[in-house]
């Protein structure tokens, strides 16, 4: 009787061993992973902050006053499409032209093309400016990323569009956010025009 009970106990222990030990090992492994120290090599928040400050100063020195205030207040830039003349533009025959399309430039997000008159979103252009140097290889400061996109768009729009991956709106940038940003932009422009007068508004919008 005792022998039978002992044998049964051994079998139960062996079966439990098979079940419990792998589970314990998995738990220990998870614990080790969670406790593993993440070494952030080369990351210095102070350096990043100073880099962003320099980048903002550089951006401010390159774009016009309206664009700088737009970025400062709203967090994005609007750039008119090269084939558009912007609001209040004039064609060669003296007629008034509209702005067929424009872009919104966000830091480290795709460029969003839209139609200013209707607010319709056209496409997203995914573009990156990655440094290939071995010591950095990271991302540009936010304002440098915006400036790089601005320079690429205003300097050679076709080339930049050719380099970018084009997607339908909404792939990465939430269309609701873009529409909200366009609404904010409209309100911001109206306030700015009130502040500076209609003359500053018409001149500064280019």
């Amino acid at each position: 009787m005792l022998l039978a009970l002992g044998a049964t106990a051994i079998v139960i222990l062996a079966l439990l061993w098979e079940v419990v030990v792998p589970a314990l090992e998995r738990r220990l492994q998870r614990r080790r992973v969670h406790r593993r120290r993440i070494v952030a090599t080369g990351y210095d928040p102070g350096r990043e902050r100073r880099a962003e400050q320099r980048a903002r100063a550089l951006l401010k020195s390159c774009v016009n006053a309206e664009e700088w205030e737009m970025y400062r207040d709203l967090g994005f830039l609007r750039v008119w499409g090269a084939s558009g003349e912007g609001p209040g533009g004039h064609s060669a025959d003296g007629g008034v032209t509209g702005a067929p399309y424009a872009y919104l430039i966000y830091p480290h997000k795709p460029i969003v093309a839209f139609i200013p008159q209707t607010g319709a979103l056209l496409s997203e252009y995914c573009i990156e400016f990655l440094d290939r140097s071995p010591d950095d290889g990271g991302r540009l400061p936010e304002s440098d990323d915006v400036l790089a996109k601005w320079m690429a768009l205003t300097g050679d729009e076709r080339r930049m569009i050719d380099q970018a991956n084009m997607h339908l709106p909404g792939r990465q940038v939430d269309p609701r956010q873009v529409r909200r940003d366009l609404w904010r932009l409209g309100r911001w422009e109206r306030e700015r025009m009130r502040r500076y007068g209609s003359h500053a508004g018409s001149v500064g919008s280019r």
């Binding site: 550089l58 390159c62 990156e128 990655l130 950095d136 400061p141 440098d144 601005w150 320079m151 050679d156």
Partner: protein, 77 residues
Amino acid sequence: MQPGHGEVLLAEGDVSIPAEERELIEAFRAQLDAGMWAAVPLTADSGRRQAELVRSFDEVPRSAERVIFFPRAAGGR
């Protein structure tokens, strides 16, 4: 422009002085060889601010105050 650093001054000089112009040309070529794009911020006749992408030092307007180098654009995800 450099990740983690922002704006970094690479070289400065007066293009009307041959020795300094040579240094500027060397610095310019080194950046383009490293795969950077070069742009000159300009103010158009209409007053509009824009950039001009340049592929050689000869394309840089003589009146330009600075050339900004930034990493080459590539299609993102």
